[in-house]
Structure formats: C-alpha cells, structure tokens
Amino acid sequence: MSKIVPLSEAIRRYVNNGDTIYAAGFTHLIPFAAGHEMIRQGCRDLVLARATPDLIYDQMVAAGCARKVIFSYMGNPGVGSLRFVRAETEAGKLEWEEYSHFGMISRLQAGATGLPFMPMNPTAAGDLERANSHYRTVTDPYSGREVVVVPALNPDVAIVHVQRADAEGNAHIWGIIGEQKEAAFAASRVILTAEEIVSEEIIRSDPNRTLIPGFIVDAVCHVPYCAHPSYTQGFYDRDNAFYLEWDEISKTPQGVQSYLDEWVFGVKDRVEYWEKLGPAVHERLKVGIRPSAVVNYGRY
C-alpha cells in the first residue's frame, strides 16, 4: 500500500505540538525541508532531540518551535557555535538535556531495541553524570563492577531522509549512517523523506542496503534536495559556504528573522526553495560519479 503523501500533509498528520522529535542524520541527510515545514506550520513546544542540533534545530528554536533540546554536541560543525540554541540556553529560555555522543546514541539504541536502558563502561568524567539525573549507575550482576546507564529514548516522531525508498517506505541509505535506523525503530511514528521514489524491484535488487523496512514507516514523502544545506551522499554536496554564512546570519535576531521570512515562509515547499537557490548554487553542489562495484546476490 502506498504511503506517499506531500511533506506538508505528513507533518500535519503526524507531528503534534509538544511532541518529541528526532530529525536524524549525523551531518549527512539532515531533513531540513521537514524542519522548515514544521516552522511554516507553526509547531510549538516541541522537544528537539539530535546528537548535534545543527542548523536545523537552531532555526527551529529561533522560530519558536521548541521548548527543550536534547543533544550531545551543540556546535555548528566545522564552524563554531550554534548561536541561537546557545543564547537561549544561556538566557534560561530553553530547557536542555545533555549527553556525550555515546550516551545519546545509547539512549536511542535502547529505544530502538525495546530495552529499558543501555549500559556503558564508566568514563570517570562525573560532572555531566551529576548534572543530568538520567545518567545512573547500576552494578553489573556478573562482575560486581559499576556500569553507567542511560534510559531508552523513544521519540514520538522520527524524521529520516534517505537516498531512495519505495512507496511503502522500504529505504536504501548509503554514506554516513549515523542513527537513521535507530531513530526510526525507536520512534512511535516515522516520516520518511526520499531523494528518489523507486520501485520495489530496485529495493529488492540490493536488500543489504535497506536500513529501514517499510512496515515501520508511516509516511513517505518525495522531497529532492531535502537535506540542503546538509547533503545526500552521491546526490549533492554539503553546502559548507552556507554553514559559514549561517554564522553571520545568526548573529542577530533580525538576521534570522529575515532569513526565515525569505527562505522558509517566503517559499511554498522545497521545490521553490531549491529553484530560489539558483543555478550557481546547484552547480557548486554537483557531485561526480563514483559507483561501487556490482555485487552478485546469486540466483537460487
């Protein structure tokens, strides 16, 4: 059964005010188009969870969508500070819950595998464990030593961008596969965005590449260039220039407001956004071909 719907419809149907959202992707495949759609629809009081909030959550926080962030690295990757999330937390206007990368991803791993918590070896850096009461210790029943534990994270909604999916949501991903699979399995509802919608036959031609099975997916949205200014491996490059530019834009609330007015509220959807970026940007983000060798699954 086809689950294909426009992205705006998927957000309307599956995202409620107050929800915990995990928009997945470690630098790669960050679903910016979905973030922009949540801003356009005026989503409020969201709990935004991501290992790296990245610009997508900086923009959503600036637009007033969030009441809390859950994160493990609050920076603009390769550039510096994430100005809005930082200013709001410093001013006490935004709640936060903080982990190390491994703590964050262990929470998602527990959520995705149906476990109540996940153990980790101790790191002896106790300050974060004292600051965040979700960090606990338990005794390993086998050795008697202490291990650190974090509780399962089960977001209300996971949003996952992929290179290609079929109409049911069986999805192929390649490149950096940070936590897309974990987020999808951990969440109650899954919105999938895809660069390409392909036939089931394409998916079945390479089953090892299917990270997300369609039966856990609620909506499939065809959104080319969804990840810009993040990237999609093999489709378009990371827009490093924009990550640097955001550092300037986000220096003032006015700068952010005019960005949102022009690039989020000023366009209807991702198609308009991509056209507005213009041919020079399209050209700059083009990537060359470097295919993998074909694998033979065999006929049996």
């Binding site: 190390s100 300050d127 950096i176 990371r238």
Partner: protein, 257 residues
Amino acid sequence: MSQTTTYSSSELLTINAARLLRDGDVVFVGVGLPNLACNLARRTHAPNLLMIYEAGVIGAQPARLPLSIGDPTLVSGALAVCSMYDIFAFYLQRGNVDVGFLGGAQIDRFGNINATVIGSYEHPKVRLPGSGGSMEISAWANRCYILTPHQKRRFPEKVDFRTSAGFLNDRTERDAAHLRGEGPQAIVTDLGILEPDENGELVLAALHPGATVEQARANTGWPLRAAEEIRFTEAPTEQELHILRSELDPDGIYLKE
C-alpha cells in the same frame, strides 16, 4: 636563535602532533589540526596509520580537506562505514583505538578537560558545545593527545567542568577508576609539550625553538614545573611544511595562524 624557515603556530602544533603518532596506530580523529596531523604522519613516518572518524568512517582517504566531521569526502574510498553506535561501541569501547585527539576551552593541572561551560552548569557564563565524543575518547583510547594554544585562561588550576577525565585529582584516582585508556600523554602547545609526571600532574617536558621555561610558566594557571631534563623539539622541517602547505591545506584554512 637562528631560524631559516618561518611557520605559524598551527603548523608548529600540527607537525609536533604528527611526530607523536606511530606507524600502525588506529587514530580516532577530528577535523582541523588533528586531521592534518594524521595525514602528515601518513605521508612521512607512519604510512600505515588508520584513521577513524566519529561519524562512523574507518580508513578514510579524503581527497579534499574536510570542513566538518561528516564530510562526504571521508566516505568515498573509505574502508568501511558504520553507524554512530557501532563506532563508539565496537571500535572505541571495545578497545580498538590507540590514539584519540581532544580539545577544549580549559585543561587543568591533571589533564582534565572542559568543553562544556565556563561558570556554573545551570547558569553558564559561556555555553560551549559540550562533550561530543570526548568523554569516551579520553577514557578509552590508549593514548590521548591535546593540541592547544598556550594561554593562561586555557590552563587553569582546576577546570570549571570536567567534560572528560585526565588524571582526576591525581594518577591514583584515575587508576582506581579502571579506565582502559592511559589518559592524556602529551599536551602540545605553541611553546612546547606538557606531559604527565608519575602523579599525573602536567609538567613542561619539551620546548619548541625559541620558547623559554619562563614563557611557559607565565602562560600557565598553576605553578608549572619543568622536567629535570627538558627536551627541545626539532624545528618544523622543510619537508613537513611543504606537505602541509602544498598538499594538505593549500588554502591555509587551518594553518594560517
């Protein structure tokens, strides 16, 4: 001191970091200077260095200088790509990483690092990015190296927040925590190299050309002791500088200053 070649502080840090790497090391690497140090080591004395990125990339051979830790150039041509959980669990926690690079706003007398907040945690004066991978890297990589400019505000007696463990209050305390890693082994600055003594206290072990013990002391927030036999690092060589400037960072993105 006579000096035929000039070089920037970043070049000095990168070259000295590269020299600490051994052939065959598995290195958990970040972008910026550590990435350049690893690539320099690979092109000089450590051709079998294996680079692992926290984005889940193993054996990367970047064709261009990556700006972010998750740059697509790290993936194309890599040996393997895995999930974030896998990179921290199978690779780091399991004990497959020899070297980790760390950075932070503050490093204290016992090598503890703060990358989280200046001031109090609940009401920070400055909110920094936070741990990322460093909490686990400092605990589980066999050896850790820290690259930092030598400034008093970066070297307080005690850090405001322990994002990652050095030797805690002294070496016996780290030993008692049974961490698999040996902790910070060298802090490379633009003046020299600090190393932990038998108690885990950082002492001045080496000076770069032209730098003095007094300079290092004046720029350290605790009464810095000098090792009994202080070493002097060799100035960056023409070959090292040539590789950095012509091959690794031709536009001077990381190495200008």
